[in-house]
């Protein structure tokens, strides 16, 4: 049986751990990370990939894709995570969502409508 810890040093580090738990927590991050935190980290990484694709060629990014991106960030906020998102993409999504509230297209009704309009004008 080997004694790999010095008793005095070990005691000293235990005291330090008690005094600064946050600093020591970083060393054991991987072990302490919960499943949700791991998923959040993976999601942040994926969002970063999307942002990189957008920054490389924004023309390929349709408005509906930007809206999907913003929806993910909104859901993250609802779940209590903080992720600001790429400002340009968020702005693009906001514009798209505003324009979704627009009034629908108007059909042309041929001569029927034009005749009515003439009567109204008189």
């Amino acid at each position: 049986m080997t004694k790999d810890k010095h008793p005095i040093l070990s005691e000293h580090f235990e005291r330090l751990k008690a005094l600064m738990p946050d600093v020591y927590a970083k060393h054991f991050k991987e072990e302490r990370e919960t499943k949700n935190q791991k998923l959040f980290r993976m999601l942040k990484h994926s969002l970063g990939v999307i942002e990189a694709v957008y920054l490389q060629n924004s023309d390929n990014f349709s408005l509906s894709k930007a809206e999907e991106y913003s929806k993910i960030i909104e859901e993250l906020k609802e779940l209590g995570y903080t992720y600001t998102g790429q400002p340009e993409l968020m702005n693009m999504a906001a514009k798209f969502m505003i324009m979704k509230a627009k009034k629908p297209m108007e059909k042309a009704t041929g001569n029927i409508k034009k005749d009515n309009q003439d009567r109204q004008a008189m």
Partner: protein
Amino acid sequence: MTKVVQFPVNPPQKLGPRKARRRRRPNLEDYGQLNMFDQLPDTPIVSLPKAGSFFEEALTLDESGDASAEKYYLLAIEHDQSVEDAYCNLGILKSSQGDLSKAIDYLTLCLQKNPRHFEAHYNLGNVYSDLGNLELAKVHYELSTQIEPSYPNSYYNLGLVLISLKRYQEAIQSINKFVELAPSSEHQTANELIKTLNAIAK
């Protein structure tokens, strides 16, 4: 002795129904006439529109969501019936199918026929805003308001474009104009929007 001679008696012919028989058609050329009906010309059989014109039929089908409306709009164009309106409505159909480039094609063909077609300008505004080209959308909505100043929806959509472009004061003016022209049932959302815009613009 006399001989009785039997008088031949023909049984009476029974009068009754008479079947119609297929008669051989006379060859008109035997009578010196030109026979025009032996061979039918190769013409397609087209079902005539019920509503009076191909355009009206297309519009009726379009209103009921029938996919064959597109075919009738194309027939209307072919037969020179409300051509510009048919192009305009084809543009709407294509837009609803998600084919925005074809929608622009039809709507601009409509404007080629009539550059002051207000529905085409308004609809082009909608297509360009779907594509995210808000500057072009703004131009078409503005043209639509100039051609048909009493149509409220152009002002509403123009207002939304101006919000997206962060031109809040102009957006307020445009949505106020919509409230002025639209029926009261549509005022609530617009008034709430104006309140929010006033808060942002301050």
